[in-house]
């Protein structure tokens, strides 16, 4: 069997871009609110459904779908924080209580989506046609996805490094007490991060849904690699997440080649993320964060 290596690397870039967009919100919220928000998966699914209704049912196209899904899901994220997680944290809930609450929220959101939109998978119509570029098979959606990941990286970089709110996010993430003492409005920082994080999850959801299918489990299906990205990259660390997303994208696609060569089912590709997660926990639980001290 010959392996089309160019395609493997291109696919790695696509997978990495998707994981990056999906995981940035998770890792930033994780770093600020100090618990893993399992309902992040449902923000992804919610985004996919909003994107579907705007792009397909209303026929307004992908760019508008991205914007609308970002805004609505972002608002849902803020409401969840204000309505559930902030009151819980104020009552002194432990990290376990916060995690359980996020799983409970996930079930409420997922099954609300299921109840409203039914569990039948929905499919986006293909955007443009697939074409060949040398040995590569490329779709327009994939180019959009890589473009979106690039824009996201640049925007987030500028936001975190050069704006007041970005600096406040980094300060609060590394030391909330000190940030509060220096006059940063920590509450505002946290809800803005929830807005951005949930919104970005929605964008990942649209790309994932358009590439495969839109189902209420859309988000849950990639929760493993996304958590692996957040942990490998170092919790709350944006630059670590970029590196981790592409590392996991690459390893996963190489792993698929290996699985095919071994004659195993390719559904195990999700197991590769799990392996990376466990290895990170054993060797370096703080992830790649030490490579990116400034962030």
């Amino acid at each position: 069997m010959t392996v089309n290596w160019a395609q493997v690397f291109f696919n790695s870039a696509i997978t990495g871009s998707l994981y990056l967009i999906g995981a940035v919100g998770l890792t930033l919220i994780y770093g600020l609110s100090r618990f893993p928000n399992f309902a992040h998966a449902e923000f992804i699914a919610l985004g996919a459904y909003i994107g579907y209704s705007v792009a397909e049912q209303a026929g307004l196209g992908l760019p508008l779908a991205l914007v609308v899904a970002f805004l609505i899901t972002g608002i849902v994220g803020v409401l969840c924080y204000r309505g559930i997680f902030q009151p819980l944290a104020k009552r002194g809930a432990s990290i376990i209580h916060l995690m359980v609450a996020s799983i409970a929220l996930g079930f409420v959101l997922r099954h609300s989506i299921g109840a409203v939109c039914t569990w039948k998978p929905l499919y986006f119509t293909a955007i443009g046609s697939a074409f060949d570029f040398g040995p590569l098979r490329i779709t327009h959606l994939w180019l959009w996805l890589i473009f979106a990941a690039l824009v996201l990286s640049l925007t987030m970089h500028c936001l975190l490094m050069y704006t007041k709110i970005g600096k406040a996010i980094r300060a609060t993430s590394s030391n909330p007490e000190l940030a509060l003492a220096s006059g940063i409005n920590v509450d505002r920082v946290i809800w803005i991060t929830w807005f951005i994080g949930a919104g970005l999850a929605a964008i990942a959801g649209i790309f994932l849904g358009a590439d495969t299918a839109v189902v209420p489990l859309t988000g849950w299906n990639i929760i493993l690699p996304i958590f692996a990205v957040a942990i490998l990259g170092g919790i709350g660390n944006f630059y670590g997440a970029i590196a981790a997303a592409f590392i996991i994208g690459l390893v996963e696609n190489l792993g698929v080649v290996g699985l095919v060569a071994l004659g195993l089912s390719t559904t195990y590709r999700i197991g590769i993320a799990f392996l990376i997660l466990i290895i990170t926990l054993i060797i370096k639980p703080q992830g790649l964060a030490m490579l990116f001290r400034r962030a």
Partner: protein
């Protein structure tokens, strides 16, 4: 006839999930471990039972092997994460459960893949479902009582007080020379073994296993039982198991009489989710509060205090 069968079925379920709730209570309630992959160990017990029983292994060996395998896997999965914060353990074990379900789903030669595999029951069918269920109730409640006694005795022993100390303040417990990783690993093994036992009982009662029975929702249901009944209270865990099962059955019956605009399955999950969030917000200690520690020394102190009070009032 139909109603009594239904109630007997409910009692079997309460017994099986009571065991799982007790095991989570030991891990989360007493020790503060966030096991988000309970279903993984439940699955190991069930599939071990199924595969061994097909080979003609006697049922008690199937149950014991299932529980031991669950314990071993519990140790292996938790070891990397036990040194770290609670959230790492939660993510690692949750992921483990998903992977395990993926394996039994994809490996068709192992246990039939998606379609699952039949399981040999312990009690042969003798013409009456009532007798079959009564026999199962006997077995399940025997296991439940054993597990309850084990957890109850552990919780009220010096060992259990160390567990509570670790839950309240890891650093203080370590400073007193109690290795938190050692205790946590032991508790995680014991909890997983109990879940494995329950899984075996579940498989043999239903007489089949398939991957769809081991969705993450199972873990979450057990969490609802413990949080509702009252963490660190074994009676609470049992109460929670009973209430959640009755509630789930109740909504199932209600659907025959009330026309609902939405799918019942979805409604049930939404209600469970809302219930959990409300419990966490307004009554995190659950319905039954954590019972106070009973020791001889404490009893002496209390009696002494009462004696002094009585003297003062005379």
């Amino acid at each position: 006839m139909g109603a009594s069968l239904y109630i007997l079925d409910l009692v079997v379920y309460i017994g099986i999930f009571g065991i799982v709730a007790l095991s989570l209570n030991l891990e989360f309630g007493f020790t503060g471990l966030a096991n988000f992959g309970k279903v993984a160990f439940f699955l190991i017990g069930a599939y071990t039972y199924a595969l061994l029983s097909q080979m003609g292994v006697p049922f008690y060996l199937c149950l014991i092997t299932g529980a031991s395998l669950a314990a071993i896997f519990g140790l292996l999965v938790s070891l990397p994460a036990l040194r770290l914060r609670a959230d790492y353990l939660a993510i690692a074990v949750l992921a483990f459960g998903e992977i395990l379900r993926l394996i039994v789903k994809s490996e068709k030669w192992l246990a039939g893949g998606d379609w699952g595999t039949p399981v040999n029951p312990i009690f042969p069918y003798t013409g009456s479902y009532i007798i079959y269920r009564l026999e199962n109730i006997g077995l399940v409640f025997l296991c439940l009582i054993i597990c309850f006694l084990v957890v109850q005795l552990l919780a009220n022993s010096p060992y259990g007080r160390v567990l509570r100390a670790i839950r309240e303040d890891e650093v203080a417990a370590e400073a007193l020379g109690k290795s938190k990783a050692k205790y946590k690993a032991q508790v995680f093994m014991l909890g997983s073994a109990m879940a494995g036992l329950a899984g075996g009982l579940y498989a043999q009662y239903l007489q089949y296993v398939l991957p769809g029975m081991f969705m993450p929702m199972v873990t979450f249901t057990v969490w609802i039982m413990v949080l509702l009944g009252g963490p660190a209270n074994n009676w609470g865990a049992l109460l929670g198991a009973a209430l959640v099962q009755i509630f789930a059955r109740g909504t199932n019956i209600a659907k025959d009489y009330i026309a609902l605009p939405i799918d019942l399955n979805d409604l049930q999950y939404i209600l469970f989710g809302v219930l959990i969030i409300l419990m966490l917000l307004f009554r995190p200690q659950g319905l039954l509060k954590e019972s106070t520690i009973k020791t001889k020394a404490l009893k002496l102190v209390r009696n002494g205090r009462r004696a002094i009070k009585n003297k003062g009032s005379q």
